[in-house]
């Protein structure tokens, strides 16, 4: 059978991009996936026009959730907030590029949901019920 642990996943999970924190930031949100204890926090800085100039994520979790968070941060750098709001989840999943079971899909989409929640102005201490 095909492994879901392809090179790109392993690469991103071992050497995640944009891992860390921003201070100050304009948007931030964090959430937990109860299934595997994954935690992801995303922080964004945007310029006056609404374009993402800096992004950072932190958290811990399985390779899928960490790699997808890392990929996501790369994707959105330089995007406009409105573009991100309109971005379908399929775009991230294509980047991740592997067939996932429903359970692992939750891992892969945790960062995506956290990102969206941050932009829709959820408070940081509010939990995503997705």
């Amino acid at each position: 059978m095909d492994s879901i642990y392809r090179e790109n996943i392993l690469e991103h999970s071992k050497r995640p991009q944009n891992k860390g924190h921003l201070d100050p930031y304009d948007y931030a949100f964090e959430d937990t996936n109860p299934l595997c204890g994954d935690e992801v926090r995303i922080e964004l800085r945007v310029d006056d026009s609404g374009t993402v100039t800096d992004v950072a994520f932190d958290g811990q979790g399985c390779a899928i959730s960490q790699a997808s968070a890392s990929m996501l941060t790369e994707m959105i750098l330089g995007m406009h907030v409105d573009e991100i709001k309109a971005m379908p989840k399929e775009e991230l999943l294509e980047e991740v590029g592997i067939e996932l079971s429903p359970a692992r899909l939750k891992c892969a989409l945790l960062s995506f949901n956290v990102l969206k929640a941050s932009l829709y102005g959820k408070a940081v201490d509010e939990q995503l019920h997705s």
Binding site: T32, P34, S101, P102, H129
Partner: protein, 406 residues
């Protein structure tokens, strides 16, 4: 045309042979299971079995798929807006208890009114009575008319007292009455009440559309609709379910547990603590498929034909009284009767000597027995696998009972 004899061949328990052969007329208590449902159970335990919701390995993924896939199937079956509105329970009884214990304990206060009816199965009455007693609420029961229908004047009078909740059955398990759920729900909503429907005797026999009925809760059991025992469904409107605290605590219904405090999972998991009966859920899915293949329009027509024949022929026997709506109105295939001079229990035992299985007793509806002025009735109930021959054998059996006690 609906071919009941062909349907019957799908049910191994009805084809065991033996003399006298089995005429099963107790489906209102629990239905028999077609081979397709038994096969679904066996297939589950021989190829899929695993706990759900937490595993990453192939069996666990397959079990998740089977479990959540059936939830979607059930949602479509009763036209819920989302699978999140489908909670799996042990059966109707647990579903109604869940509502009474969570929605009820949260929303009912001293002096509040709960409206139910005198024709309820204990499962749709006792849970509400228990919570009403606990919080000091009142419970009032809508009376029935001579022909075994709900007294709509009495209902409206009770609604005018602004009840918090109205809980009643869609189909009576004793009388066969089909209550006008849609109209009664609209009136209850206008009076500000939440509506909880016992659909244990309706979903097995007629198409039920929760959006059309607009009910807040609706409960039914798999075992009465060709599915396995031990599984049932609570439908709840999303907004109402989301407002409710959990029922049982344990695995799967939590979001985060600390020694100090626990937060709850989203609906429907919030209401499904512990390992669910995945195999039985899969069996329920197979039962729905089977019923939908037969088609509810044909099922209802067939059952009505048998019930009407039974009512007409039983009523024609001197000394036999049949309860509930007459043969020529829309009614379910449940026929309760009493034979003068022969206790209902003895009627059932003598029918059993002839291979005819019927139920006798209060049918978990003691308040209704009291309203009818009897301690018990004998009840024959018809389902997809019954044929007109079964009606013949019922009638012969009743006449035999009369001869024995002549």
């Amino acid at each position: 045309m609906f071919d009941a004899a062909a349907v019957k061949r799908d049910f191994p328990i009805l084809n065991q042979g033996g003399a006298p052969p089995l005429t099963f007329l107790d489906s209102a208590a629990s239905s028999q299971k077609p081979q397709a449902v038994i096969d679904a159970l066996v297939n589950y335990y021989t190829t899929i079995n695993s706990n759900v919701h937490r595993g990453v390995y192939k069996l666990a993924v397959a079990a998740d798929h089977a479990y959540d896939g059936t939830r979607e199937h059930v949602a479509r079956f009763i036209n819920a807006t989302s699978p999140d509105e489908i909670v799996f329970t042990r059966g109707t009884t647990e579903a109604i208890n869940l509502v009474a214990a969570t929605w009820g304990r949260t929303n009912l206060r001293e002096g509040d009114l709960v409206v139910s009816t005198v024709m309820e199965h204990h499962s749709c009455f006792v849970p509400w009575q228990m919570i009403a007693l606990e919080v000091g609420a009142r419970i009032e029961a809508v009376r029935i008319t001579e022909s075994g229908e709900l007294d709509q004047d009495h209902y409206r009078e009770l609604l005018s007292q602004n009840p918090k909740v109205v809980a009643f059955t869609q189909v009576s398990n004793v009388l066969g009455t089909i209550n006008p759920v849609k109209e009664m729900t609209a009136q209850a909503h206008a009076a500000g009440a939440v509506v909880c429907i016992d659909a244990a005797q309706s979903v097995p026999h007629m198409a039920v559309d929760v959006q059309d009925l607009d009910v807040d809760f609706l409960a039914f059991s798999a075992h009465k609709m060709l599915g396995p025992m031990g599984i049932g469904v609570l439908y709840g409107k999303r907004s109402v379910l989301e407002s409710m605290p959990p029922y049982q605590g344990g695995g799967s219904m939590i979001r985060k547990v600390t020694l100090e405090k626990t937060t709850w999972a989203d609906i429907p998991s919030r209401f499904e603590a512990g390992t669910p009966s995945v195999g039985d859920v899969v069996g329920l899915g197979a039962a729905i498929d089977y019923l939908q293949d037969l088609g509810y329009a044909d099922i209802a027509r067939h059952e009505h034909e048998l019930a009407a024949a039974a009512i007409i022929r039983l009523s024609a026997i001197p000394g036999v009284t049949v309860y509930g709506p007459p043969a020529d109105v829309a009614r379910a295939g449940v026929v309760s009767f009493v034979v003068d001079g022969v206790h209902p229990h003895d009627v059932a035992a003598l029918l059993d000597e002839r291979g005819v299985a019927v139920r006798a007793g209060h049918h978990c509806a003691q308040p209704l027995m009291k309203a009818l002025g009897v301690t018990a009735t004998t009840r024959a109930s018809f389902y997809v696998y019954n044929t007109i021959d079964d009606v013949d054998r019922l009638i012969e059996g009743v006449e035999y009972a009369q001869r024995v006690f002549a």
